[in-house]
């Protein structure tokens, strides 16, 4: 399970980083979203990965999942969600104000996207 978890997180982070470095606002926003998913997964795993553990320490005292990372990741998800919503609106505002969706404000002539 660790290998699968690590690979998923890694792929998400790598794709997110690649997209975040693109030149247009939409891929940047999607990239940041993917990165935040990767970070949330990572944060979730910091308490150690357990299967079939009880949520908090039970009577049996057996294996239990660390509740703190779950609380942390919940907070991070809520904040990340709000930030994503904000950056989407902001990207649209930039498109409207600057007249281009390029992060540097360049009006790049790319005919295939400007057909309409």
């Amino acid at each position: 399970m660790e290998a699968l978890f690590a690979t998923t997180t890694g792929i998400l982070a790598a794709s997110g980083l690649y997209l975040a470095l693109r030149g247009r606002t939409f891929p940047v926003v999607v990239g940041l979203t993917l990165l935040s998913y990767a970070v949330n997964l990572f944060l979730f795993s910091t308490g150690g990965l357990t299967t079939d553990g009880s949520a908090v320490i039970g009577d049996g005292g057996g294996e239990y999942a660390d509740p703190l990372p779950q609380a942390l990741v919940l907070t991070a998800i809520v904040i990340g969600f709000a930030m994503t919503a904000f950056s989407v609106i902001l990207a649209m505002r930039v498109r409207g104000d600057v007249g281009s969706d390029h992060v540097n404000g360049n009006r790049v002539d790319e005919p295939r996207e400007d057909k309409s």
Partner: protein, 503 residues
């Protein structure tokens, strides 16, 4: 007054929410509410500083969950001082904003209070994850405030600022994850107690986490490779917001000081002082490049933004010097630079308004309507910022230069004094272009009483800080001593379990 510690967070929160709910209310009412709340915050700040002077470290356990299990707000000299500076700066920029800048967009007053809540929370919290949460609170308010009033330059600079800070927040979370995974706690005092007992196998991971934190705080503080967002964002922001943002870089500096003296300080075993060499060299480089930026700026706003970078470099170098005298000196310099650079942002905006089309650009243009008032203020602000005697900048720098050890002197003295010279040259060129090489008729726009009060309040701190240099340095020295006394901090948070906190 045990609940005093949480007031700097609660008061702006309640006022902010009330202002957002009644955002359609009369403008005078909203302004009055905001100003009253900020004045109350100044009073709370002063009370907190007074309370902290007896050298006990107090904490406020939220929900009475005792540390290290619950979230605590910690009041020591440093946090009390930072809260007080924040409230003073906020009052100055708010008075200025009430003269008309707040009408340019919606919800200025509510967002302003929420911003204060985030900043105060970041200064007071004793929990690393809670620090992240307060960072987000102050950031999301700052995103909206930065774009207050709208316009091409602002939205554009705003997008860069938001994207960078989102990345910064993610790095922060990764660092927190690593640290929690290895140490099993996020309470700063508890982390500090755990660090020396770490397993050797975990050392590499903890070190990675600790240095990732440095990147995050460096981004907030505008440390060398991470400062490129700052001049543009600050130059584009409305003046009162830019003035308030003068404290934002100090949030980064504060976090660096807190984390790398408390958690990874002297007593951290194999990880002791791991970030200090980085901070020292990067601080010096920031200082040098900031000075180049000041010289090259073609716009007064950008110039002040670069002056902030120079001060950030100075503060970082002081942190990297890592001795008690340097820490005390840099705290004095921090009070000075925060208030005066905030005042300069306001002043530059006031000057730009009276110059008609030329605005804040450093070019020949019309004569100002009030050359004497503005000129005197600019003169005082420039002297303080460049670090010439007799104002507070010189005092802070002299203390810092004195604190350097012989090996550090070779680097610090030429770079710090050279950057002072560069600021002096640049500011005198700006001043002579604006005030002396001006011709043509006046625009007739004058500075209202609110704007004068706001600007005067912040720039006036420079002579006041010299007049009261004795008590202030006594306070900063005690603060530095308290900061380096890690055991006292840990004991007052962790060991008081049975007697309970001030809940």
């Amino acid at each position: 007054m045990q609940h005093l510690i949480i007031l700097p967070v609660l008061l702006p929160l309640l006022t902010g929410v009330a202002l957002l709910i009644h955002r359609g209310g009369a403008l005078t009412l909203r302004r009055t509410a905001n100003v009253l709340s900020t004045i109350a915050l100044v009073v709370v700040g002063i009370l907190l500083v007074a309370e902290s002077t007896d050298d006990t470290i107090r904490y406020y356990a939220l929900g009475d969950w005792q540390p290290p299990f619950g979230i605590v707000l910690v009041l020591d000299r440093l946090s009390a001082l930072m809260v007080m500076i924040t409230s003073l700066l906020a009052l100055g920029s708010l008075l200025y904003a009430c003269a008309g800048d707040d009408e340019q967009g919606s919800n200025f007053h509510g967002l302003f209070q929420l911003q204060l809540m985030g900043i105060n929370g970041a200064f007071l919290t004793g929990d690393l994850f809670n620090l992240f949460v307060f960072f987000e609170v102050l950031l999301i308010a700052s995103y909206a405030l930065l774009m207050h009033g709208g316009g091409k330059a602002r939205t554009h600079a705003g997008f860069h600022y938001v994207a960078l800070n989102l990345l910064g927040s993610m790095l922060f979370l990764i660092a927190l994850g690593i640290l929690y995974g290895t140490m099993g706690t996020l309470n700063m005092a508890d982390m500090s107690a755990v660090v020396p007992t770490l397993d050797t196998a975990d050392l590499g991971l903890v070190k990675a986490g600790a240095l990732l934190l440095l990147i995050v705080f460096g981004l907030k503080a505008a440390m060398l490779p991470l400062y490129f967002w700052l001049p543009r964002a600050y130059a584009a922001a409305p003046a009162p917001v830019a003035a308030l943002f003068a404290i934002m870089t100090k949030v980064g500096i504060y976090s660096i000081i807190r984390v790398y003296t408390l958690i990874f300080g002297e007593q951290a075993g194999p990880l002791a002082n791991l970030a200090q060499p980085w901070i020292w060299w990067l601080g010096l480089a920031t200082l040098a490049l900031g000075a180049v930026g000041v010289l090259s700026a073609r716009d007064m706003r950008t110039q002040v933004a670069y002056l902030i970078l120079v001060s950030v470099g100075t503060l970082l170098a002081g942190t990297g010097m890592h001795n008690e005298a340097a820490l005390s000196a840099l705290l004095y310099y921090l009070i000075h630079t925060t208030l005066v650079s905030g005042g300069l942002f306001l002043l530059v905006d006031a000057i730009a308004q009276q110059r008609g089309k030329a605005g804040a650009r450093i070019v020949q243009s019309r004569t100002l309507t009030q050359p004497a008032t503005l000129g005197l203020l600019f003169f005082a602000g420039a002297i303080a910022m460049a670090g010439l005697p007799p104002l507070s900048g010189a005092f802070g720098k002299a203390l810092l230069l004195q604190a350097a050890t012989t090996a550090q002197q070779y680097w610090l003295w030429p770079i710090l004094l050279g950057s002072g010279l560069a600021s002096l040259i640049a500011l005198s060129r700006t001043g002579s272009t604006i005030f002396w090489r001006a011709s043509g008729e006046k625009t007739g726009i004058t500075l209202g009483p609110l704007r004068v009060t706001g600007t005067l309040m912040l720039i006036g701190c420079a002579p006041l800080m010299v007049a009261f240099a004795g008590p202030i340095t006594a306070f900063t020295q005690a603060t530095a001593a308290q900061l380096l006394d890690r055991d006292a901090y840990v004991e007052s948070i962790i060991a008081r379990d049975d007697t309970g906190g001030d809940a």
